[in-house]
Symmetry: C2
Subunit: 413 residues, 2 copies
């Protein structure tokens, strides 16, 4: 008998018929003798509806009251789901974040889980019940409702799986699993059967949207086996698990991209101590997140600084930088929004040198200019012109033979 946590997102429980269908799916797993904990999001569209109501009342909605409001979305789904299980003749009980208890920090709308009390869940499981838990929400020590921010239900599911020492955490979504790259861009993209936590972390942070990055971090920390799979088929999806020998033999596991960034360059900055802080402090004070930063020293005591920001922050960042440039006597500020970040990820890189230069050669062969480069132990990212994104992805996918399973590193390039 295994203990399995299954999480279904908003599109999977978007109406009462879908809720009944998902209940059947959970029940069939329960009837195989497994203990089942189900984590649900709000019905698709419901959270946006509630946010709309809030904005109609208060221009900048109070965050505590916002959590009080939007947490009703999950409350509706879990109660309906428990009813659906009961209608099908089995027993279920729904629980909210504060009933579990899922204790969080008091950072409303983006709280972090501090602890989970698994006692009540375990008692219900021992009684043979399917336990249905509202995702995305928790409670502060003072008893106020909090929410966990974007992707919060994934985090709830993985955190519960960790607290319950579950055998698996299954994340049901509208795709078949994690792919070697975006199948919409590259028809030969292949579903990955097993991927390491570290690779998944890089893919999530580089733009792959299938799993929230916080939940992957949690899964890695508590060694929770995560199974990303489709709500609409019975096929096995992708297991996100601890690294093994087989993974290491693959040089590159996936190619990913992000079109959501913009590049800013501040030229001929006097190269003095403290100048970088003068540039980046106003940026971070304005809540603008900087991704890549590179610095080129020019001849003389001048330097050029280039960095990337999220595209929606571009205009604000440019305005701020123009003021800063004047203050520090830099020559000019320039930028571009039509850029993309293309990355290759793979734990095999740790033991193989020269992967980065192979990537540069492949891009050069296609006539693609590289503007910025950033590397980590298991990934290489290049900023290129946006219009070359698809070409770059297909070229890298093919060159690293990602459409073939288990190609040894020696044969990948």
């Amino acid at each position: 008998m295994a203990l399995i946590v299954q999480k279904f997102g908003g599109t999977s429980v978007g109406n009462t018929d879908k809720i009944k269908a998902v209940a059947q799916r959970v029940l069939s797993c329960h009837k195989q003798g497994n203990q089942m904990v189900v984590v649900l999001s709000a019905m698709s569209g419901e959270t946006d509806r509630l946010i709309g109501l809030a904005r109609a009342v208060q221009q900048m909605p109070d965050l505590r009251e916002m959590d009080m409001l939007v947490s009703t979305g999950e409350q509706v789904t879990v109660s309906l789901f428990a009813m659906a299980v009961k209608e099908a003749g089995s027993d279920a009980v729904s629980l909210l974040g504060d009933q579990v208890t899922i204790q969080t920090t008091n950072m409303h709308t983006k709280a972090r889980i501090k602890s989970i009390d698994s006692g009540r869940i375990k008692r219900h499981l021992d009684d043979g019940k399917i336990v249905v838990i509202a995702g995305f929400q928790g409670v502060t020590e003072e008893g106020d409702i909090t929410t966990l921010g974007r992707g919060g239900s994934d985090t709830t599911a993985v955190a519960l799986a960790a607290a319950l020492k579950a055998d698996a955490c299954e994340i049901f979504t509208d795709v078949e699993g994690v792919f070697t790259t975006d199948p919409n861009i590259c028809a030969r993209a292949r579903k990955i059967d097993r991927i390491s936590y570290d690779e998944m972390l890089e893919l999530a942070s580089l733009g792959a949207k299938v799993l929230d990055i916080r939940s992957v971090g949690l899964a890695k920390r508590y060694k929770v086996p995560v199974h990303v799979r489709s709500t609409f088929t019975e096929n096995e999806g992708t297991w996100v698990v601890e690294e093994d020998k087989n993974m290491e033999s693959m040089l590159v596991s996936g190619v990913t991209y992000n079109k959501n960034e913009a590049r800013i360059t501040i030229s001929k900055v006097p190269d003095q101590p403290g100048v970088a802080a003068k540039i980046f402090l106003p940026i971070s004070d304005a809540g603008i997140v900087v991704d890549m930063i590179i610095q080129n020293t020019r001849a003389g005591s001048m330097t050029d600084l280039t960095f990337t920001v999220i595209r929606s922050d571009y205009d604000r960042a440019m305005k701020l930088l123009e003021q800063v440039a004047a203050e520090i006597n830099a020559e000019s500020v320039s930028g571009a929004q039509d850029i993309a970040k293309v990355s290759i990820v793979g734990v095999g890189m740790r033991n193989h040198s020269g992967i980065a230069s192979t990537m540069f050669q492949i891009l050069a062969r296609e006539g693609i200019n590289i503007m910025m480069i950033s590397t980590s132990e298991i990934k290489v990212s290049c900023i290129i012109e946006e219009k070359y994104t698809e070409l770059a992805i297909r070229a890298l996918h093919e060159a690293f033979a990602l459409d073939k399973e288990n190609v040894p590193a020696e044969e990948q390039v």
Copy 2:
């Protein structure tokens, strides 16, 4: 500085514009230096929408899950209301039943309040906040959400006023207050300025819908002054308060009616000990509520029993009674749905004899036959043919001079 509890129903907070308008009204009372506790219902239509979802999932929705589901309605309104107060520049905080804490029995969908912890509310009030509390809901000792059933938000408001020793509990509704009779039937119906708890209890139990009967009982028990008034005007409404001399001088305070009952007669019942139990036990086992009962002894050892039930239970009750009649050798079962109960209510009756016979005379004068009679210390009810309801009401209203204020008992008839 007074402490005032104000309760607004679903139509008063039916959309975001109405919520903002109600917030302004509460704020103006707050700015006069009063401490304010606001109790809200779900936006009108919301509870029905949620019940519809439940029925689409489970034929007979589980009661615990039903409470989990429908309690979200009030949660949405209180958070939006707190936002509206903040948008207007004041401070507010919303609280759910379990956050207050409002402890109830675990009879889901019709729980009763056991105790209220007023500590958290008082702390917020002392901080100058408007405290916005979800009506209709509470929590069991095990931490499960409960709801209080029909009219539950009125009960929440009065119970809070009692727990907080509030100076007043104002129930805002879509009418101007409590009237001497239904203004839709009798154009000369007059708004009552002050009415006693006992009279209001009788009026509520006899069909007047302006205040839930449980909340009146609570108000009487804890001597909470209740002010029933309109959301849409600034006029004074009706104060429901302790009996005073002035009220006693009025013979009759109001005339009310109820068209929601049906009459059943079981004829020629052998008049033996235990026969009444044999008749009414299956009825109460089926959850059917019996209102009036009269028994006429016939010549010989036979008796006729007549009683009234809620009209929607009529068919079920008739079916049950036909079986019972056969078992106890009664001759026949007959009944009628086209009946109405017309009642006069007034604390002055305690000290005046002959009010009942005056009522019978007035009805006789209009040619209205009385089928059943039931009396209490402060009311007389008659069952008549439904088609005479309006005629009876107008005749009684005029004969007892209810359109005139403070008519001494001696002059009322």
